[in-house]
């Protein structure tokens, strides 16, 4: 049941995102770019940190 609800929730998010993309992407391209761009900036900076975790042995005194 929880799985089904989660799936339904994700489906709603998908539909809302699509509607948002169609409407705002058309009417307000820069607003749309802001949403996509902000998500991208967050993901890339987060990925950078995770990469550092992978690069380093957390407890050592090696160069950072």
């Amino acid at each position: 049941m929880t799985k089904l609800l989660r799936l339904a929730g994700l489906a709603v998010v998908l539909v809302v995102s699509l509607l948002f993309a169609v409407f705002v992407g058309d009417q307000g391209p820069w607003y749309f770019a802001w949403v996509i761009g902000t998500v991208m900036i967050i993901l890339i900076s987060g990925a950078g940190a995770i990469m550092l975790d992978a690069q380093s042995n957390l407890s050592s005194d090696e160069e950072i």
């Binding site: 820069w30 967050i42 890339i44 900076s45 550092l52 160069e63």
Partner: protein
């Protein structure tokens, strides 16, 4: 219109500029830090590593100081429209009031409510729920900026309104046009990402400070890496949107773009140089010296190789007929107010688009009333009004250049920092770390220059092409203005001093919880109002 003392207008402008510039010392960090906190917390939720929670909490504490002190400075500005700019509020209140009210109701409440949950909810909410709250705070703070920038764009490029001769004010026409005004979009994204740049420099600079001291190394390295990547993409975005704004100014605010570029005569494509430095002389209407890069200006502004950019002298010449037509419009409107005759209304409608230029001419008319101008004086009034259509070129030209030069510095610094961080050579590059530290205030400075470019460049108008600034103020006495100005300076200086004191204090102390370096924990400061989550983790 009522006669307004020019000294009161100048003082009102000075007061507004001062309060806006003070306010915007706080805003960029709020806009950007919230999304940086969201990024850190996202990594915490995804990886489950404690250090990212430590990061979100520590930078969250510095955000809290900025938010608590900065929020008050914005509220006074909203009242200033009513107290010092009552003529403007009457004329443009319909258009301006709507986004301002939405900002207050939706974004501001949303932001304030969720800020509380964000600070005090660490132990009370699940990881995911807390993360959602942090995103809502970020969204809320940026949405509140959105509505203010929609209002500001309405002043720069009025869309979604028309002038109503019955009520003598701009009436709302289309909410969609107001919100999706291209200038609003570009301004919002430019300003929001300027906040990202400011926050990234702030986090990177303070992290550099810890690395230089060899403290909280793992904490600082991760914060630095995230900030450098956050910053480099944001800087590219701010430059891209800066270009869009320049192009919009070229299309809709020709006097602003000509002043920004110090262009007294229409450009000759494609060879016109982009002036790097010059000494514009507003009185003589010329530049004293110029150093430029050939071939750059035309493609930079027009995105073509053959379109000219109209110079300020040519814009003054083109304004002559509009001023004359505007005088007709204002005179017909005056008569219509008394007679309500269709003839006067038809005449007004014919000249309506130039009404603002007629109002601009009022400064040179007896008793600031164009209907008092004798027929044989009209030419002289038109001639005297022509130079008034230009903003202060020196201020607009240089504030724009400082903003642009600084953005190039940010680009270089973030790019090198990201590279060195990815190579894991940060501690070998002490000079780079010092440069990062010293650059902390620069994006805030660039933001201030941005606002000066936008607002000084819009002059002589509050509503571009429709309402001159000198007719927008309230009819106060000079002493009232001086008194309130002194009050603001004192109060806001105390805010800034408090902000700087607390920021320095807590940044120096470093993270209270550093799971990677428990032995390096600072001596816990005495509990204070800003200790938002003393027992978390």
């Amino acid at each position: 219109m009522e006669f307004i003392d020019p000294n009161v207008v100048d003082l009102s402008r000075f007061q507004f500029a001062l309060t806006a510039l003070y306010h915007f010392m706080f805003v960029p960090l709020t806009l950007g830090l919230t999304f940086m906190l969201a990024a850190m917390e996202t990594v915490y939720v995804v990886t489950g590593r404690q250090i990212y929670k430590d990061m979100a909490q520590f930078w969250g504490k510095l955000f809290g100081i900025n938010f608590a002190i900065g929020v008050a400075t914005g509220i006074t500005m909203e009242f200033e429209f009513g107290t010092n700019w009552s003529m403007y509020s009457h004329f443009f209140g319909d258009m301006f009031g709507t986004p301002l009210a939405i900002e207050g109701l939706m974004a501001f409440f949303m932001e304030s409510t969720f800020v509380g949950l964000m600070f005090f909810g660490w132990d009370r909410l699940s990881k995911q729920a807390h993360l959602a709250i942090t995103y809502l705070v970020a969204l809320g703070s940026n949405l509140s900026a959105l509505w203010i920038l929609i209002a500001n764009a309405g002043m720069n490029m009025p869309e979604g309104a028309h002038f109503d001769p019955e009520t003598m004010r701009m009436q709302f026409e289309s909410f969609v046009n107001l919100v999706f005004n291209p200038d609003a979009q570009a301004k919002f994204v430019h300003t929001s990402v300027a906040g990202y740049v400011s926050a990234a420099m702030f986090v990177m600079g303070i992290s550099a400070f810890y690395l230089l001291r060899g403290q909280h190394r793992q904490f600082a390295a991760r914060s630095f890496r995230m900030a450098a990547l956050f910053g480099i993409i944001s800087t590219v975005a701010v430059i891209t949107l800066g270009d869009v704004l320049g192009r919009l100014d070229y299309e809709k605010q020709p006097t602003k773009i000509a002043a920004i570029e110090g262009l007294w005569h229409t450009s000759k494509p494609p060879f016109e140089p982009w002036i790097l430095a010059a000494l514009p002389d507003d009185a003589k209407q010329e530049n004293h010296f110029e150093v430029g890069v050939p071939l750059v200006l035309t493609p930079l502004i027009t995105h073509t190789f053959d379109q000219p950019i109209t110079g300020m002298h040519e814009l003054e010449d083109a304004a002559g007929p509009r001023i004359r037509s505007g005088i007709e419009a204002v005179s017909a409107l005056r008569r219509y107010g008394v007679t309500h005759s269709d003839v006067d209304l038809a005449l007004f409608t014919q000249h309506e688009q130039d009404m603002g230029y007629g109002l601009l001419a009022a400064r040179h008319a007896p008793n600031q009333d164009v209907t008092n101008i004798p027929e044989n004086q009209i030419d002289a009034v038109v001639k005297a009004t022509q130079p008034d259509i230009l903003p202060n070129v020196f201020v607009t030209f240089w504030s724009f250049r400082f903003m642009v030069f600084l953005s190039l510095w940010f680009f270089a610094l973030f790019a090198i920092s990201a590279y060195v961080s990815l190579k894991r050579r940060l501690e070998h590059n002490k000079l780079l770390l010092k440069l990062c530290m010293w650059s902390i205030p620069l994006p805030i400075l660039a933001t201030e220059f941005g606002w000066i470019t936008a607002e000084a460049g819009r002059q002589p108008w509050t509503v571009f092409g429709w309402l001159p600034t000198f007719l927008s103020a309230s009819s106060h006495g000079v002493s009232y203005m001086v008194f309130s100005l002194i009050g603001f300076v004192l109060l806001y200086s105390v805010f800034i001093a408090a902000e700087l004191y607390l920021m320095f204090k807590f940044a120096r102390l470093g993270p209270e919880h550093d799971s990677m370096e428990p032995h390096a924990q600072h001596d816990a400061p005495k509990p204070s109002a800003f200790d938002m989550h003393p027992t978390a983790s």
